[in-house]
Symmetry: C2
Amino acid sequence: LSQIKQSWQVRTAHPVSYDMVFCHDLFDPGNGALLTTEGEQGGRRRFVVVDRNVLNHHGAAIDRYFQKNDIIACIHPLEAGEDNKSPSQLKAVLSALDTFPINRRNEPIIAIGGGVVTDLVGFAASIWRRGVPRINVPTTLMGFVDAAIGVKTGINFNRNKNRLGSFSPPDRVLLDSSFLQTLPKRHLLNGVAEILKLAIVKEPDLFSLLEQHGRHCIEVHFQDSISQAILSMSVDSMLTELAPNLFETELARVVDFGHTFSPALEMHADMDLLHGEAVLIDMLLSSIIAWKRSLLSRSDLDRIFSLVLTLRLPLSSKGLQPNMLMQSLIERQHHRNGVQRMPLPTGIGSCCFVKNITLEDINQAVTYLHRWLQDRHFEYGHQNHERIFQRGPRGN
Amino acid sequence: LSQIKQSWQVRTAHPVSYDMVFCHDLFDPGNGALLTTEGEQGGRRRFVVVDRNVLNHHGAAIDRYFQKNDIIACIHPLEAGEDNKSPSQLKAVLSALDTFPINRRNEPIIAIGGGVVTDLVGFAASIWRRGVPRINVPTTLMGFVDAAIGVKTGINFNRNKNRLGSFSPPDRVLLDSSFLQTLPKRHLLNGVAEILKLAIVKEPDLFSLLEQHGRHCIEVHFQDSISQAILSMSVDSMLTELAPNLFETELARVVDFGHTFSPALEMHADMDLLHGEAVLIDMLLSSIIAWKRSLLSRSDLDRIFSLVLTLRLPLSSKGLQPNMLMQSLIERQHHRNGVQRMPLPTGIGSCCFVKNITLEDINQAVTYLHRWLQDRHFEYGHQNHERIFQRGPRGN
């Protein structure tokens, strides 16, 4: 009995593979992009979750698309908005799936919408039958450059942002910028904040492009060729950063810039902030802290603030409670395994990580931001002040 | 602008690594097995989910263990039983986690219990913060040879067995057979069914050992050396089968033997079957179908049935509805991507996969099983008949 085996080691690797491609005319029945699945003969059924607003614009075209392609499609509408990134909406999607049986491998779920839709559907797809394939079609700028192209899925839980979720890659991401044509301005600017994030801590060329062309790109809803270049650079930059660290083995992440204080801001119902709006406030507070600590030069800090003005990003310091921001940092510290690892910019295109941010740092930064906004009020007058604070309707 | 990048491919692999080890005296404060995390300095907090029955036996020892090791432990009791493998119990675990913050990497969740506990806690750990480490301590035979040693986690949903879950490896599995000492007989036999599964389709030597020693091992609650050998062979056989196909890339799985009809049986509230009891019925029906199709010899079929009698496994054909079994097969067909891929034994230690099982096959098998049980009644008399049907209390 001495030869009885007493211990075992399992060592293997799970291959991860997914594709992203710029495309157009997705709902043209002759375009097979939505139906192709890599390496597997496609089945005849599709479960399709579509943002309610997108359905209003494209519902008929979507129905026709599947009909013409002889596919039995179950269209499940999902209301957008952070409040719907919830356990109850997740349950609704999972229950709908249970009543519309699809094969486990060759009938991928299709998610068409913004970050809320692709995050929630991604999570549903990753846990239904322990994971079925899915295709992401982002229809917002936030989805295009951020939510839809990574492997992170999730929902909010107990008022904690993305508390439940998975690292689960989509099979394909179809990037069609024509959806941005009808995207409300507030939601365009929401995505611009994530582009700005990459520009500040990682891409000086992208930062310059935004300085020169950003305002114009927003005006034309990212439909011209310079916009395409900016979108492509943003996607490329994000993937270059994500791909080597897809499962967050390394917890000090450049892309976490702007994502330390923002979860609490975004989950604060009274503030009514979109993700990008919360990230913007966090980026500015972080930049001020970096400057106060002599990690960032005064001129670079000014360049960042100037670009925010140029792009007319909605910004307010209303309701910013230093204690709440500290709580968010403490929460993120658990997420970063007990160390703050807070990204701070050290110039346009570079950053470092610090682990000793104090409540006093946060106090100073909030005071600075508050005064800066007040100064703008006096400097530019009421009209401009309103513009700084302006926000459009929520819900896409 | 012709150089704008239009498509991207992400190709990588996610390393998977976990260990299993036979051990004893887990709650001896000097034993560090429960506290060690591979490669990471351990934090001082632990979230520990424990089967209520185990807590009754070992609660004081568990408290003392963490106290003596200067660990702040949150003990979350979980009722066992298939009914508790539910969304509501999952939510309770996740909410408890939210109120007891642990670091994301160096404070692994500890699951102590049977398959319900390790499956549910494994799922919770895999989605909380998109996945935190965990340690499995199986306390039932089913957990020891099956549930706790693989990477499949899950809960039931809408009366579908394991409909929601993940492929998520534990970090460590601590195998202490002394827990089996106090395991009720019914739950011992529950695990024996899974050992029998491996023996029939994969391990002729294990089958012979069960014929010779199985009855004795059950009597001594798997506490002697021959029992240790059988446990070790079972774990080894299971891992040999699982490891090369950890994420079910291959859908024709030998370990699916007995798992085609059983999900419906197990989810059928009136039948009140444990997992292994449902698997046993499925294995016998599958074996009968294999014999009727001349895939399995009469003598091998008899050997299988004889061993079931020898081991005194609880068995009944009561409530077996061929239509319900067919529905289960159709459901499994979706799970196996549109093809039945049903494992049937072709001898003691081998199997094949078939894709054309009909309702008539099922009808014949149910009739045969029913008659066989009736014959046993007359042949062995009432006392033995009762023993065949006998089941102990549920709930561990």
